[in-house]
């Protein structure tokens, strides 16, 4: 336990917003910056779309109607992903555009190991991360102040109050969802991004590490700290008598 404990406590000083890139054709993003066409190597246990499938064949043949079909079919979900990662609607739309251009150019390299929607999801995540890197950094609070404090004997300095069991029904309310989103937005970017990729977009630790160009242990540490910090931020709204 001790050795692992020390390992977990190594504080990740890296504040990288770097994202994975790969070799390949280069194109311009929505602001004319060069960007690599990101081709995810992803397998999807839930299923796959054969590269010989009708839509993929039509896309590879340059069928304009197929591109439009793809945009209309997948664009809504992809825009939702970009909105989650980027706070600006304009940036989310730019990222979506970048993602589709990247996908159009890379369709020949779609291997069919994952569903087309999963492949597009990863491309969108990468495009949003690249856009995030270009955003001006905002002033951020230190995550340290949001982590639990301990007494010298190891006990919690401020034992937490139980939360109301009604939290679930509260989630049906738009205001509650917005409150939780606002609190997620208060997290420092490097922690917020890991929380979104792991807990919301459901990427695994290794893929998250690769996309952010950080170590697997950094992803684990940031995820745990992000959840702890978010717990602290949500506590005032949800604490109450346990039923």
């Amino acid at each position: 336990m001790r050795a692992a404990h020390v390992h977990m406590l190594v504080y990740d000083e890296v504040r990288s917003t770097g994202v994975a890139t790969c070799s390949g054709a280069r194109s311009k993003d929505t602001h004319g910056h060069e960007m690599s066409d990101f081709v995810p190597n992803v397998k999807d246990p839930a299923g796959s779309d054969p590269p010989g499938g009708d839509l993929v064949v039509r896309l590879r043949a340059g069928d304009g109607a197929a591109f439009e079909e793809l945009v209309r079919q997948e664009g809504g979900r992809m825009l939702a992903v970009a909105r989650r990662l980027l706070r600006s609607e304009e940036d989310a739309r730019d990222a979506l555009q970048d993602a589709f251009v990247s996908a159009f150019k890379s369709i020949d390299r779609y291997t069919g190991d994952a569903r087309l929607s999963t492949w597009l999801h990863r491309i969108t995540v990468n495009a949003a991360l690249m856009k995030l890197r270009t955003q001006r950094r905002r002033p951020e609070r230190s995550i340290e102040t949001l982590l639990p404090a301990f007494k010298e004997d190891g006990h919690q300095a401020n034992p937490p109050a139980p939360w109301r069991e009604t939290a679930e029904s509260l989630l049906d309310q738009k205001e509650t969802r917005e409150l939780v989103r606002r609190k997620i937005d208060e997290l420092p970017d490097d922690h917020r991004t890991v929380l979104l990729l792991r807990d919301i977009e459901e990427l695994d630790t290794e893929e998250t590490a690769r996309l952010l160009s950080v170590s697997v242990s950094a992803v684990k540490t940031r995820l745990h700290r992000a959840r702890q910090a978010l717990r602290t931020l949500l506590e005032p709204a949800f604490k109450g008598a346990m039923k």
């Binding site: 404990h5 809504g76 919301i200």
Partner: protein, 85 residues
């Protein structure tokens, strides 16, 4: 008493505990501490609730967005960008 891990250690290992990555020995120590420590029980429960709330808030709200068709101007911009870049 010295056999028990401290609250600080338990909280450090919650993520590994929940993901099933904690080795059997450590998991057993974690469970033993949890049984006798109400504050850690509350912390674990609210940590899990935090994950659930964030997932529901982000996915729940945006599912509605995903069901919405893309704005027509955005569809046109994407299709035009295919030829420009």
């Amino acid at each position: 008493m010295t056999d028990y891990i401290k609250c600080s250690e338990l909280i450090d290992f919650i993520a590994d505990y929940l993901s099933g990555d904690l080795p059997a020995q450590e998991r057993s120590e974690f469970d033993r501490h949890l049984q006798i420590c109400p504050p850690c029980q509350v912390y674990l429960k609210t940590y899990q609730e935090t994950i659930r709330l964030s997932r529901a808030a982000e996915k729940g709200g945006h599912c509605e967005d995903a069901a919405d068709p893309l704005p027509e101007d955005l569809v046109r911009a994407i299709l035009a960008a295919r030829h420009l870049r």
